[in-house]
Amino acid sequence: MPNPPVIAVVDDDEAMRLALSELVEVLSLTCRDFDRAEAFLAAYEPQVFDCLITDLSLPGMCGLELQRKLHALGSSMPIIVVTATSNPMLRTRALENGAFAYLEKPVKDKVLVGHIMSALREGEAQV
C-alpha cells in the first residue's frame, strides 16, 4: 500500500491547528502541523507534502508571503487558505497567486474535505 498523502497545516492558533490535524487524520491521511510559515518552509522539500492548508494572518511571514515563497521555489503543491479574516481583497490576491481554495473560518468540514480530496486528485494527475 502506498504511503498516505501528507497534508501540512500552518496555523498559529493551537486549537485550530490541532482541530485541522484531527480532521485530516480522520480521513486516513497523514498530517504535519506548523505554528509558523517559517517552520513549514524549513521542513519543506519538493514531493514531501501533497497539500498545504494555511492561515493567512501568521506571526512573522504571513500566508500570502509563504504562498509567494513556495511559488518561487517552483512548488506546484496545492494550497488551501483557511482564514478568520473576511477580506475580499485578500481572497482575490490569494486566488490570483494560485491558491487552490480560499475558505473562511469557521469552515464546513464537507467543504474543506471536498477541496482536500480534489487537490490530491489534481496533484496525482500531474505526476
Binding site: 486549537a15 485550530m16 482541530a19 480532521l23 480522520v26 505554528d35 494572518s57 506571526p59 504571513c62 468540514d109
Partner: protein, 304 residues
C-alpha cells in the same frame, strides 16, 4: 495630527488591552503588524479615555477605534469557535466510522470544552477591561457634559444639516457621576437622534437639548428631542433592550448602554414621543445637593 501622535506616545502607559490579545501559548490569533495596529488604535481610545476636546481627528479616531475593536473581538472569538466546529465535525466523522475510536472522540470533546472556555475567557477579559475603567464618581455639572458631548457629534449634526437648539442655564446643579460615562450617554442619545432624522427626508431637521433642574424631585434632567419620525408605539418598550435596532448595520447597544450607565448612577431614562412629533429621551439623575437644586430652576421648561 499632533494629537494623534500624542495618544500613541501614551501607549506604554495603557497596555491593558494587550490582555485581550493573549491567546493560549502560541495559539494567539492576532498577529504581527495587524495586531499592533489594532491594539494601537484601541489604546489611543483607552489612553485618551475619551477626553473630547474639539479636535475632529480625535473624534474620528474614537469612532474608528470602536469599529476596529468590534472587528478585533469578532476575530478573536471566531478562532476558538472555529476550532469547536471543526472538532465537533471530526468527532461526528469518527462516530460514523466502523472503527469508532472512543479515545479520539474523548480527546476531541475535551478540546471542544477547552476552546469554549477560551472563548468565554476572551469575553471575560473584555468585561474585565471595561471594569478596569472603573467609574470615577465626582461632582459633575451636566451642562458641561452636554457641551462636551456636543463637540463630539458636531460634525454629524453639520453634515446632516441639523439645527441644534440648546437650553442650558449655568451653573446647573451638579450630580455625582463619572464624567466620561455620562458623556457617553449624551453622545449616544444625540447620535440616535441624528440617525433618526437622517433616516427620513423631513423638512424640519432639529435636535433640541436641555438641561433642567427638577427641584420637586431633587433631580437634574437632560432631555434630547429630535424632529425625526418618533418611536412607533409597538417599539416603545424595546428601545433600551440590548441588540434591539431598527438601523441597517446597527448593533443595538447604544441605548442599552445608556440605560445601564444611567441606572448605575441611580437615575432613570425614559423614551417617549413629543406631542409635536419626534422622539424625546430624558435622563434624570439625582442632584448632588438638595439646597442647590431647590434654590434654582435652571431653565424655562423645555417642553417635556
Amino acid at each position: 495630527m499632533s494629537k494623534t501622535r500624542l495618544h500613541e506616545s501614551e501607549l506604554p502607559m495603557r497596555s491593558r488591552e494587550r490582555s485581550v490579545h493573549k491567546g493560549h501559548g502560541n495559539g494567539s490569533s492576532f498577529t504581527g503588524r495587524e495586531r499592533k495596529d489594532k491594539g494601537a488604535e484601541f489604546a489611543a481610545l483607552a489612553a485618551s479615555r475619551m477626553q473630547p476636546g474639539d479636535d475632529p481627528v480625535h473624534s474620528l479616531l474614537y469612532h474608528r477605534a470602536l469599529g476596529e475593536l468590534a472587528t478585533l473581538i469578532a476575530h478573536e472569538i471566531r478562532q476558538p469557535l472555529s476550532a469547536i466546529v471543526t472538532n465537533g465535525e471530526t468527532s461526528l466523522r469518527w462516530m460514523s466510522r466502523d472503527d469508532l475510536n472512543a479515545e479520539k472522540v474523548r480527546n476531541l470533546t475535551s478540546r471542544m470544552v477547552a476552546s469554549a472556555r477560551r472563548a468565554n475567557d476572551i469575553v471575560q477579559r473584555i468585561l474585565d477591561m471595561a471594569a478596569d475603567d472603573a467609574p470615577r464618581h465626582i461632582p459633575v455639572d451636566l451642562s458641561d457634559v452636554v457641551e462636551e458631548a456636543l463637540l463630539l457629534v458636531r460634525h454629524d449634526l453639520e453634515s446632516e444639516g441639523i439645527e441644534l437648539s440648546l437650553l442650558i442655564a449655568r451653573p446647573s446643579p451638579e450630580v455625582l457621576g463619572d464624567r466620561i460615562q455620562l458623556q457617553q450617554v449624551v453622545v449616544n442619545l444625540l447620535s440616535n437622534s441624528i440617525q433618526a432624522i437622517a433616516q427620513v427626508r423631513c423638512a424640519k431637521r432639529q435636535v433640541s437639548v436641555s438641561v433642567e433642574a427638577q427641584p420637586e424631585t431633587s433631580a437634574v434632567t437632560v432631555a434630547v428631542r429630535d424632529s425625526g419620525p418618533g418611536i412607533p408605539d409597538s417599539l416603545r418598550d424595546c428601545v433600551f433592550q440590548s441588540f434591539f435596532t431598527t438601523k441597517a448595520g446597527g448593533m443595538g447597544v447604544g441605548l442599552a448602554l445608556c440605560e445601564s450607565i444611567v441606572v448605575a448612577h441611580g437615575g432613570t431614562i425614559a423614551a417617549s414621543n413629543h406631542c409635536e412629533g419626534g422622539a424625546l429621551f430624558s435622563v434624570s439623575l439625582p442632584a448632588l445637593s438638595d439646597e442647590v437644586c431647590a434654590g434654582r430652576s435652571a431653565v424655562p421648561s423645555a417642553g417635556a
